[in-house]
Amino acid sequence: MTLITTRRSFVAGSAAMAGGLMLGRSARAQEALKVGFVYVGPVGDYGWTHGHDVARKAVDAKFGDQVKTTFVENVAEGPDAERVIRQLATSGHGLVFTTSFGFMQPTAKVAKQFPKVKFEHATGYMTAPNLAVYNARFYEGRAVCGAIAGHVTKKGVVGYIGSFPIPEVVMGINAFTLAAQKIRPDIQVKVVWANSWYDPGKEGDAAKALIDQGADIICQHTDSPAPLQVAQERGVHGFGQASDMKTYAPEAQLTAILDVWSNYYVERVQAVIDGSWQSHSVWYGFKEGMVALADYGPAVTDEAKKDAEATREGIIAGTLHPFTGPIKNQKGEEAVAAGATLPDDKLQAMDWYVQGVQA
C-alpha cells in the first residue's frame, strides 16, 4: 500500500503545515509499518531522487499491506528538513529514510527526540542507537568510467561537471582521473562547478562550455540528463548519472553509474519488521550491488570493455582499489605511497585533487 504525501515547497512554513495536516489524517492503521522517505529533489528528476523512489516502490511491491510508505519530496536542506522529519516521526512512522547529505544534522536531532523511531540517513557520517548511515561507493563506478574514457577519448581532454566541492564529489573526480591515467597518462580533467545539484539549463551550459574548450568526454556529478544530451548533439561522449540515460543520448552514453538502493531498503524494512534492526554505518559498492553499471554504449570498444570489466571485477574481488599508490597531488607531491591504499576515513574527508585534475 502506498500513501503519498507530496509536498512541493517554496513557502516552507505554510507548506509544512499543510503536509502535517495530510499526514495527521492518515495516521490511523497502526498494524502496518509506516516507512517515510525524505527526498531533496523531485521524484521526476531522472537522477538521484528518482533512484531512491524506485527503491521505495520496490519496498511497496515486496511487502504489500505489511508496509505503508510515505514520501516527501523537494525538501530543502536545513531547518525545513527538520520540520518534515519531525512530522514523519510524530505521525506514526517506524522507519524514516533521509536521502541527502544535508539532512544529516536535522536527522540526528530528530532521532534524539524520538528514540523509538528508526532513522536511516544516506551519505552522512553521524550515527546513534536509532540512526544508521548508509552510502554507496560511487567512486568504484567512477573508476570504471575512467578506464572507458581513457580508451574512448581522442583529444585526451575530459570535462567534468561537479555540483559542490564536497568529499563525495572530489573523490569521484579523483577516482575517475586515476583510472583514466592508467590507460592514457596524459589525460587532462577540467572541472566546472555548477554550484547546484539540479539545474538542467546550467548543467547543459557547463557541458557546452567544456566541449567548446576541447573536451570530448563529459562526466557529471549533477542530476539531470542535460549534459549528456548536449554531448549527444555535439557528437562527443559521456556517462549517465544515477539512472540509465540512454534514451537522451543513445550514441553518446558510454555507460551510466546506477544507484541501486532497493536491496538495502528491503533488507532494512525487513529488519524493523523482524525486530532485528540495529544501527550501523555501511558503505556498499559493486560487491553488495548498491552500485551498478548500465549496458555499455555503442562507442565502447572491445578493448575499453575489457579494461572496464577488469576494473569492476578487480574491485569486487578486492584485488584492485581505485586509490592505490603511488598517487600524486596537483603539486606533484606524493600523497599516497606506492602500494598503499587510502583508508575509508581519508576518502570520506578527501579535499585534494590528484595530478591531472584542473579545478
Partner: protein, 310 residues
C-alpha cells in the same frame, strides 16, 4: 581566444538569456499595470510541460509552443480571478500559483520523463547562415530567440508610443485616477496579467523545446525568480530587461568558461558562481542611479488591490 570560440560562447549566451527575457518581459507588463504576480516560476513550468507534452503527442513543435503560451495564460487567468475579481492578496496568491504550477506540471509531466524530443530547428537563411561568424551568430537561432527580441521591441514600443500603453501605465500608476476618467482598470489588468502568463509560458516552452529539449520536474530551477528580480533591477524598462537578461546569461556562461579554463585570478568557484548575480545587480543599479534619466520607476499602484467605487 579564437573568433570561432567567441561565436560559440555568444550563441550559448543567447540561449541562456532567452527564457529569462520572456518571463521578465511578461512580468514587466503585468507590473506596469500595477499587478505583482509572483507566480512566474509556476507559469513557466506549466508552459514548459505543456509545450513538451503537446510536441511529443502531436509531433508539431509549433502547436507545442502555442499550447505552452496558452498554459501560462490559463494559470495567469486563475491568478487574475483571485486577485483582480476576488481581491485576494497578490503576494500570497502569486506564491501559491508557483507552488501550484510546480505540482501541476509534475503531475502532467509524470508520463513524459525520460522521453527525448528534437531540439527546435534553427532558422536557416540560404546563403546568409553560412557566412563566417555573422552567419551562426545572427542567423543560427530558432524562432523563439527572434520572437523574444521582437517582443522586447514590441513591449517597449507599446508602453511608450501607443495609447493602449499609456492607459496601461496610467492604471499602474494611479488606478483611482484611471478609473475616474473612465478606464476599466480591472479589464486592463486582466489583459496585462494574461500577457504575463503568455510570455512566461513561452519562456517555459523555450526551456523544454530548445534550451534543454526534455521534460524533467522543476526544470526552471529558479529562473522565474531571477526574472522577477530582473524586472526590479531593470527599473521596469523593457530594454534594460533585455540588457539584464543578456548580462546575466553572459556572465553565467563566461564564468563556466573561466572555470573550465582553469579559473580566474585564483577566485574560488563559489565566487565565480556569484558573479552573474553581482554583475547584473551592479550594472542595472548603476544605470538606474546614473544621471541619464535615472530614477526608481516602480509603478505607484504596484501590488495594491483595486475595488471600483460603486
Amino acid at each position: 581566444m579564437s573568433l570561432d570560440a567567441m561565436v560559440l560562447i555568444l550563441i550559448t549566451v543567447i540561449s541562456a538569456a532567452t527564457p529569462l527575457l520572456y518571463a521578465a518581459l511578461g512580468e514587466l507588463v503585468a507590473e506596469r499595470a500595477g499587478v505583482l504576480n509572483l507566480g512566474v516560476e509556476g507559469m513557466m513550468l506549466a508552459g514548459a510541460v505543456t509545450a513538451f507534452a503537446v510536441t511529443v503527442t502531436t509531433g508539431s513543435a509549433s502547436l507545442g509552443i502555442v499550447a505552452g503560451a496558452i498554459a501560462g495564460a490559463v494559470l495567469a487567468f486563475a491568478f487574475g480571478v483571485l486577485t483582480l475579481s476576488l481581491l485576494a492578496n497578490q503576494v500570497a496568491t502569486g506564491l501559491a500559483l508557483t507552488i501550484f504550477g510546480i505540482g501541476l506540471s509534475a503531475l502532467v509531466g509524470a508520463g513524459f520523463v525520460g522521453i527525448p524530443v528534437e531540439r527546435l530547428p534553427r532558422l536557416a537563411v540560404p546563403g546568409v547562415s553560412d557566412l563566417p561568424v555573422l552567419g551562426p551568430l545572427l542567423f543560427g537561432h530558432d524562432v523563439l530567440v527572434y520572437l523574444g527580441l521582437l517582443m522586447t521591441f514590441g513591449v517597449a514600443w507599446f508602453l511608450k508610443r501607443t495609447r493602449g500603453g499609456m492607459i496601461l501605465r496610467a492604471v499602474g500608476e494611479s488606478d483611482v485616477s484611471a478609473h475616474s476618467i473612465g478606464y476599466d482598470v480591472i479589464k486592463v489588468r486582466y489583459l496585462a496579467v494574461l500577457f504575463g502568463g503568455l510570455m512566461a509560458g513561452l519562456g517555459g516552452a523555450f526551456l523544454s523545446l530548445s534550451y534543454t529539449p526534455m521534460w524533467v520536474e522543476e526544470m526552471t530551477a529558479g529562473r522565474g525568480w531571477i526574472a522577477l528580480a530582473l524586472v526590479v533591477f531593470a527599473s521596469w524598462r523593457p530594454w534594460r530587461v533585455l540588457l539584464g537578461a543578456y548580462l546575466f546569461g553572459g556572465v553565467t556562461i563566461l564564468q563556466l568558461h573561466a572555470q573550465g579554463a582553469g579559473g580566474l585570478f585564483g577566485l574560488p568557484a563559489q565566487v565565480l558562481s556569484m558573479l552573474p548575480y553581482l554583475a547584473t545587480i551592479l550594472v542595472l543599479t548603476i544605470i538606474a542611479a546614473g544621471p541619464w534619466r535615472g530614477r526608481l520607476n516602480a509603478p505607484a499602484s504596484l501590488g495594491k488591490p483595486f475595488r471600483p467605487a460603486t
